[in-house]
Amino acid sequence: MNEPRARRGWRRRHLGTDAELATFRTLHTASLAAPALRAGLSQDSAAAAVPHLRALLDAPAIALTDTADVLAWDGEAYHHAEHVPAIVAATLERQGPRAFDRRDLRCTVRECEIRSAVSSPLVVEDRVVGALVAFDTFPGAGLARTAEEVARWVSGQLELAELDSSRTRLMEAEVRALRAQISPHFIFNSLGAIASFVRTDPERARELLLEFADFTRYSFRKHGEFTTLSEELRSIEQYLLLEQARFGDRLAVTLVVAPEVLPVVIPFLCVQPLVENAVRHGLEGQPEGGRIRISARDAGLDCVIEVDDDGAGEDPERIARVLAGDHENDSVGLGNVDARLRATYGEEYGLVVETARGAGTRVIVRVPKFAPGVLA
C-alpha cells in the first residue's frame, strides 16, 4: 500500500506541481495534434488530429468538419453524424460558436446519452473553413468555452499550414515567372535581327526563326521541375545564336564541357539566366565586344558549372544583396537561381559569384550528381 504513495511523492518532486503537470499534459496533447493540422484541413489530417483534440476537450464525442459535412469523428454515438450538416450550416450562418440541445439532436438509439453539442467555427484568414463540434451528455458552459479555445488553436495551426503552402506556391510561381521571363527586349531584338536577314540571307533568317521557336518552346514548357545539363546547354545555344545574330562578332563564346557531366540533372533554367546576365553585363559599355566562357567539369560527386564574362564587373556588396533576396535591380535571375539551388540541394549548394568592378564576373554553380528526388 505504501508503494503508490511513495511513487506519487517522487513524481511530485521531480515533475512539478499539479498545475505544472496540467499545463504540460495540455500542451503535450496539443503538440501531438499539431503536425497533422500543419498539413492543412483534409480527411487524413482531421482523422489524425481528432483523438488528441477529444483528449483536450474530455468530451464523449467530437467531430471536425469542413463547410458541409464531417471530415473525421472520434468517440461514441457516430449516429449523430447525421445532425452535423445542420449544425455546420447553423454555425456558418452565425459565423460564431453555437450551442445545440436535445431538440436539435433527436435520436432513436436507446442507450445514447448525447443530449447537447457545441460548435465553433475554424477561421483561416477571416474565412470559415470548417467547424469543431463537441458533443456532451448535458448542456454546460465549461465545454463551450474550452471548445471555443481549442477551435481557435486549431485555426491558428491551419493558418500556419496555409502559410507553408503559400510559400511553396510562391516558389513555383517564381519558376513560372522565370519561364515567362524571356524579356520583351530579347523578343523585339531577336525578331529585329531575324528581320534584317530576311532579304539578305533568307536561309539564315529561317534557321534563326526555328531556333527562336525551339528556345521559347523549352522556356515555356509546362511540366517538369528538372532537366539535364545537355538539354539546358541546347537551350543556351539557341539563346546565344539569337544574341549573336544581333551582336555579330562582338560576342565571343568559349565552351569547355566535360562530356561526363552532360547527363547531370539540374533544376530547369538554372544556367540559362546566368548566361543571359553574362551577355548583358559582359557587353555593357564595351564597344569592342566581350567574351563569355561557359564551363562544366566533373568534381567527383559533384558537377561544377561556371559562367564567366570579361565585362564591367559588379560591386560585390550589391551582388550579396541580390543573393539575399533584394529585387531592386535587374539581376532577378541571379537571386532566383540561388534560391532554387538552395531549396533543391541544401544551403551549401548556393551560387558563388566572384566579381569586382572592372574585373569581369564569374558565377559558379555546384550541383551534386545525385540528390534524392531530383530526377529529370
Binding site: 565552351l255 562530356p259 561526363e260 547527363p263 560527386l301 534524392p372
Partner: protein
C-alpha cells in the same frame, strides 16, 4: 632490368601528368553541337573495360592457368559474364534510377539514410578488400621487374595512386580510361603474338614432346573442368561462378562509370560492348598460360606463377627483343595496377569524404575538397599498410573474395531493388548486414587463418554460393515481415526504372 624500370617510370610520369596537369580532354570549343555531345557508347565501354581490367586479369589469370590448368578459365569467364547479368538485369534500370554511386541507389529506391550508411560502409569494405591484393601484387611485380625489395612495391604504388587521386583524380576522365583499355590490350597482345610466332617457329612443341611430365596433357580435362577435386572441387567452381557473375554489379568503381551514359538504352549498349571488349581481352592470358607450360613450367613450382606474363617474353626471346617486349608488358601491368586502384581509391575516398571526413567532428567541418583529400589518404593508406604487413595470398584469390563480398551484398540489393516492389528498408538493411558479415568473416578467415582444412576452409575460401542465397533470403523474409514500411511512391519509381526512354510518359 632496365626496360622494366623505364616502362614503370614512363607509366608513372604519364599518369601523374594526365592527372595533375588538368589535361581534362574536355572539349574547348565555341561549337555547341560538339560540346553537348554525350560520350559515345563505344568510348564509354572502353573506359569501363579499362578501369575494370586490373592486375588480377593482366597477370593473375595466366598464372592460375599455368599452375592449375583449365579449371581456372572460370575466372575470366566469370569476370566477363558478370556484365551479361548486368546487361540483362541491372544496367538500364540502374542508369534510369539517376544514382551515381551504390549508396545513391539505395537512397533513391528505399528513401532511407540508414540503408545508405550501411551501403557506404560496404563500399569501403569492398574497395579495401580489392585494393589490398592490388597493392600486394604490385609489390611482387615491382620486385621481380626492377629487382627491388618487396616492401617498396605497395608503398610506391600507394604513393603514386595517392598523388594521382589527390592531384586530379576527382576528374574521372572517360577518354583516358578508354585509352587505358586499348593500351592494356596492346601491351598483352603484341608480346603474345611474338611468342606465338616463336612457338610456331620452334615446331609447335608441347609439354610431352619436351619431356616434361609435370603437366599431364589430358585433352579431356579441358572439356570437363568441373571434375577435378570431387564434391569440394565442384563447390569451389560453382561458388567462383556465383561470385564473379554477381559480384561485378557491386563494384563501386564500375557502377559510377555507368552514370556517363545519357540514358538507360545507351547504358545497355555500353554493357553489351563491354562484353565484347572483355571477351577479346581475355582471349590473350590463356595464350601465356599455355606457352608458360611449354617454356617456363618451373615458375609454377617456385610459386612465382603471377609473374609468368612478365618473365615469359625474356625466357622465350632472348636479347634486345625480349627486353623490349618485357618493357611493354611491365608497362601494361603497371598501368593496370594504377588505373584500377585509382578508380577504387576515388570511389572509397568519395564515400569517406561524404560520410566520414565531411561530417562535423567536434564542431569543425572540412570543406568538400579537403574532406575528399583526407578521405583519399585514409582510403589508400589503410590497405597499403595491411599489404606491407601481409605477404600476398595470390592476387586472383583475394580479388575473388572482394567479388564475393560485393555479390553477397550489393547484388541482392540491386536485383531485388530493381525487380521486387515489396523490398523494405529494414529488409534491405538486414540482408546487407547478414551478407556483409557472412562473406566478410569468410574472407578474413581465409586471409588470416591460412584457410582451415576441410569443408570449413572450402566454404570460407569461396563464400558466395551460400552467402548470396542467405543475404537474398534474409532480405526477402524481413521485407515480407515489414510490409508496412514499403517506401511510398515505389510504383512510380518502378515505372521510371523500367519504362524505355522512347515512351512518352510523365515520369514525375
Amino acid at each position: 632490368m632496365w626496360p622494366g624500370a623505364v616502362a614503370v617510370a614512363l607509366v608513372v610520369v604519364a599518369t601523374l601528368a594526365i592527372g595533375s596537369l588538368g589535361l581534362r580532354l574536355s572539349r574547348t570549343t565555341s561549337d555547341f553541337m560538339v560540346a553537348s555531345r554525350t560520350v559515345p557508347a563505344f568510348t564509354n565501354a572502353s573506359a569501363i573495360s579499362g578501369e575494370y581490367l586490373s592486375a588480377a586479369s593482366f597477370l593473375g589469370v595466366a598464372g592460375l592457368l599455368l599452375t592449375f590448368g583449365a579449371d581456372m578459365l572460370w575466372y575470366p569467364v566469370g569476370w566477363t559474364a558478370g556484365y551479361l547479368v548486368m546487361l540483362a538485369l541491372v544496367s538500364a534500370p540502374l542508369r534510369r534510377s539517376g544514382a551515381y554511386t551504390l549508396p545513391d541507389f539505395a537512397e533513391a529506391r528505399l528513401g532511407s539514410r540508414r540503408v545508405r550508411t550501411i551501403c557506404s560502409v560496404l563500399v569501403v569494405a569492398v574497395g579495401w578488400l580489392y585494393l589490398l591484393p592490388l597493392f600486394q601484387g604490385a609489390g611482387v611485380m615491382l620486385g621481380a621487374a626492377l629487382g627491388l625489395p618487396t616492401w617498396i612495391g605497395p608503398a610506391g604504388v600507394a604513393s603514386v595512386v595517392l598523388v594521382n587521386v589527390i592531384g586530379g583524380g576527382m576528374r574521372s576522365i572517360t577518354l583516358v580510361q578508354a585509352v587505358q583499355y586499348w593500351f592494356k590490350l596492346t601491351a598483352l597482345l603484341l608480346p603474345a603474338a611474338v611468342l606465338l610466332a616463336v612457338w610456331l617457329g620452334d615446331g609447335r612443341p608441347d609439354t610431352e614432346r619436351l619431356g616434361r611430365p609435370d603437366f599431364p596433357t589430358d585433352v579431356l580435362a579441358w572439356s570437363n573442368p568441373l571434375a577435378d577435386g570431387g564434391a569440394q572441387g565442384l563447390y569451389l567452381t560453382y561458388a567462383l561462378i556465383a561470385a564473379t557473375f554477381f559480384g561485378t554489379m557491386g563494384l563501386p568503381h564500375v557502377v559510377v562509370r555507368f552514370y556517363t551514359n545519357p540514358d538507360g538504352r545507351s547504358a545497355r549498349r555500353s554493357t553489351l560492348l563491354v562484353l565484347a571488349l572483355l571477351g577479346l581481352f581475355y582471349l590473350v592470358p590463356p595464350v601465356y598460360g599455355a606457352l608458360g607450360r611449354v617454356y617456363a613450367p618451373e615458375l609454377a613450382a617456385s610459386g612465382e606463377s603471377d609473374l609468368l606474363v612478365l618473365l615469359l617474353p625474356r625466357i622465350v626471346v632472348p636479347g634486345l627483343g625480349g627486353d623490349l617486349l618485357t618493357g611493354l608488358v611491365v608497362a601494361g601491368a603497371f598501368a593496370a595496377f594504377l588505373s584500377t586502384s585509382s578508380g577504387l581509391a576515388i570511389a572509397v575516398a568519395g564515400v569517406l569524404g561524404q560520410d566520414v571526413t565531411g561530417r562535423s567532428w567536434g564542431g569543425r567541418r572540412l570543406g568538400g575538397v579537403a574532406a575528399f583529400r583526407l578521405g583519399a589518404v585514409i582510403a589508400v593508406v589503410v590497405p597499403a599498410a595491411v599489404a606491407l604487413g601481409e605477404p600476398s595470398a595470390g592476387v586472383a584469390t583475394t580479388v575473388g573474395l572482394a567479388f564475393a563480398v560485393a555479390a553477397s551484398t550489393f547484388a541482392p540489393l540491386l536485383m531485388l531493388g530493381i525487380w521486387w516492389r515489396r523490398l523494405t528498408p529494414t529488409g534491405a538493411g538486414a540482408g546487407l548486414v547478414v551478407g556483409g558479415l557472412g562473406s566478410g568473416a569468410a574472407a578474413l578467415t581465409t586471409l588470416y587463418l591460412d584457410g582451415p582444412a576441410g569443408w570449413v576452409g572450402v566454404l570460407a575460401a569461396r563464400p558466395a554460393l551460400w552467402s548470396i542465397p542467405l543475404a537474398t533470403a534474409v532480405m526477402m523474409l524481413v521485407s515480407l515481415a515489414t510490409q508496412r514500411t514499403v517506401p511510398p511512391g515505389v510504383r512510380r519509381f518502378m515505372v521510371r526504372l523500367h519504362t524505355p526512354e522512347a515512351l512518352d510518359l510523365d515520369r514525375g
